[in-house]
């Protein structure tokens, strides 16, 4: 079911954005694009921060933008998280958080404040000034400030781009959890394939101000119609649950939604939902199943699509029992193995190369 319908046109002398899309009630909508693709501008249009926007935005049966009427940002009840946090430097952490709460009093009791502060792990920072916080803390406070005003929709503009992968690993699952627990629709702007792979359920891929691809995340990552499939670090994402732990080896087994068993490094609790990200360049193919290989994950599949042919590389889609993987091979191996569409192959994935979150 759709939570919001947007049909936005913004024409500027140097640059224009044109996008028609729905925001689903469930799931995170990722807006992916490289710098200059218009993804942030699109988010600002939804937030009401851009002037001269044409078109329509209807959120939850409320018209935010119509032919004759336009709600201002403060009327839209959004939570906006900026790339650079933008905490007010003259206010303490708790005053920053209060700022939003006080201006949206009707919403206040809807979120348990203590719970959220604990979830964000910022309870101990309340009396500090923004200048006394680390990058990760700053961004967590900004998330708290945006959420505690109890917005109808959360808009995130590259909130993690200033953090390293380790910090991202801390905050990404948390954002996912937030989304699940608060069931608040989220728009997530990013130029990081990793981030959108782990967080988003639907994707808008922007190029030069226009939507190049609009669909669910798995498809967006592997479809030949999607620009993401041919990105440098293209990867497929599979979802599943942890089904087995091998403590001696520090290996867990993930049972994907389509029933494949994939071994990944690390011990995770049985039953936990995970997403696995497997880069096209970390996967190799063989025609027969190797029995003496160091590679733990050897799965049988069929080549279903040639996504891209380049001078030296071939990018293939392999269907492993309905799980779609991307595989990048040199053209040389492709020809030596005499591979082609509908060919039965064995997919080899090194466990250590799999990112799980």
């Amino acid at each position: 079911m759709s939570f919001a319908e947007c049909d936005i046109t913004l024409q500027r002398a140097e640059f224009g954005v044109e996008a028609k899309f729905s925001i689903p009630e469930k799931g995170v909508l990722g807006i992916f694009g490289h710098s200059g693709s218009g993804k942030t501008t699109l988010l600002r249009c939804v937030a009401g921060l851009e002037k001269d926007v044409q078109g329509s935005i209807v959120v939850n049966n409320e018209t935010w933008l119509g032919a004759s009427d336009k709600l201002s940002s403060q009327q839209r009840n959004i939570g906006y998280i900026f790339q650079d946090s933008r905490l007010f430097p003259h206010l303490t952490v708790s005053e920053n958080i209060e700022y939003g709460i006080r201006r949206n009093p009707h919403n206040f009791d809807a979120i348990d404040r203590g719970y959220l502060l604990e979830l964000l792990n910022i309870g101990h920072l309340l009396n500090r000034r923004p200048s006394q916080l680390s990058g990760g803390e700053t961004q967590r406070v900004a998330i708290g400030r945006a959420l505690l005003k109890k917005p109808q929709m959360l808009l995130l503009d590259e909130p993690l781009s200033s953090l390293d992968w380790k910090r991202k690993q801390e905050i990404l699952p948390f954002l996912g959890k937030l989304h699940e627990e608060l069931s608040i629709p989220m728009l997530y702007v990013s130029h990081s394939l990793e981030e959108v792979s782990f967080l988003c359920d639907h994707m808008l891929v922007m190029e030069q101000g226009r939507v190049r691809f609009n669909g669910n995340v798995q498809e967006a990552l592997v479809s030949p119609r999607s620009p993401l499939a041919t990105e440098e670090n293209a990867a497929a994402v599979l979802e599943g649950n942890i089904s087995k732990q091998e403590k001696d080896f520090q290996i867990s087994t993930v049972h994907t939604n389509n029933g494949n068993a994939i071994q990944v490094p690390g011990i995770l609790p049985i039953g936990q939902r995970v997403r696995l990200r497997m880069r096209a360049s970390d996967i190799s193919l063989s025609k027969t199943a190797a029995s003496d290989s160091s590679i733990l994950n050897i799965l049988e599949g069929v080549i279903t699509e040639i996504v891209e042919r380049q001078q030296s590389h071939v990018l293939l889609q392999v269907n492993v029992n309905q799980d779609i993987l991307l595989v990048r091979l040199t053209k040389k191996s492709y020809q030596l193995l005499a591979l082609d569409l509908q060919q039965k192959v064995f997919v080899q994935i090194k466990a250590v190369s799999i990112q799980g979150l």
Binding site: G48, L49, Q74, F82, D84, F88, Y99, G100
Partner: protein
């Protein structure tokens, strides 16, 4: 002693009233200048800055013409109140406001510009209306600009001479400010009195500047 104290009190009163008026009317002008995108902006900025470079006598001459009983503003004022603006305290206030205008507007404008649109937008997304965001975000973040503008406006008004001489003359208790009084003392070779007043003015100016720089530094550390 009254003759010595009178000009001092008058000067302080003039500077205080002028600064207050300038903060009130200068703030919206500074905000507008900091945010406008109209092409005319450099022209308007140049006009605002004129009092910095013009000889005070030029400014004073035009003000004398405009504020005089035959002038546009002075005539209107005369009909309204039956008094002349020239050679009165009210006239001095108007003249000082114009004379010190850029000294208040420019620092506040610069401060607003460095606050930038980002913080205001953030306030809007948190539910603040524009005026609310202005007072709770832009003004507190620009407080150093207000401090600088206020102190400069005050100190600059203290030291004004040429404009006062043209518009206000030398009426004790009404327009006889410190700078005029010093000039008088020197003319009549009363160097002793001139020394006292000049000394007080120097000390005061120094204290004002010191206060501004110390406070500015403090505010910087806090933010």
């Amino acid at each position: 002693m009254f003759t010595e104290l009178g000009p001092l009190i008058l000067t302080a009163k003039l500077a205080a009233i002028t600064t207050l008026i300038l903060l009130v009317i200068g703030t919206p002008v500074a905000w507008w200048l900091a945010n406008t995108k109209i092409r005319m902006k450099p022209v308007i900025e140049a006009v605002v800055a004129l009092p910095i470079v013009l000889p005070p006598t030029v400014l004073g001459f035009y003000l004398l013409v405009i504020l005089g009983p035959q002038g546009s503003i002075g005539g209107w004022w005369f009909e309204l109140t039956g008094q002349t603006l020239t050679f009165s305290f009210s006239g001095l206030v108007i003249a000082s406001v114009i004379y010190s205008f850029p000294f208040v507007v420019q620092p506040i404008q610069n401060a607003f510009e460095s606050v930038g649109r980002d913080m205001m937008e953030t306030a809007y997304t948190l539910g603040a209306k524009p005026l609310d965001a202005f007072f709770t975000v832009a003004v507190p973040l620009a407080k150093r600009g207000f401090l600088t503008g206020g102190v400069l406006g005050f100190a600059h008004t203290l030291g004004e001479f040429g404009v006062v001489l043209m518009v206000g003359g030398n009426i004790p208790g009404e327009t006889r400010v410190v700078s005029i009084a010093i000039y008088d003392h020197v003319e009549t070779l009363e160097y002793g009195q001139a020394h006292v007043m000049a000394g007080i003015l120097i000390s005061f100016a120094f204290v004002a500047m010191l206060f501004m720089y110390v406070a500015n530094h403090r505010l910087k550390v806090e933010a």
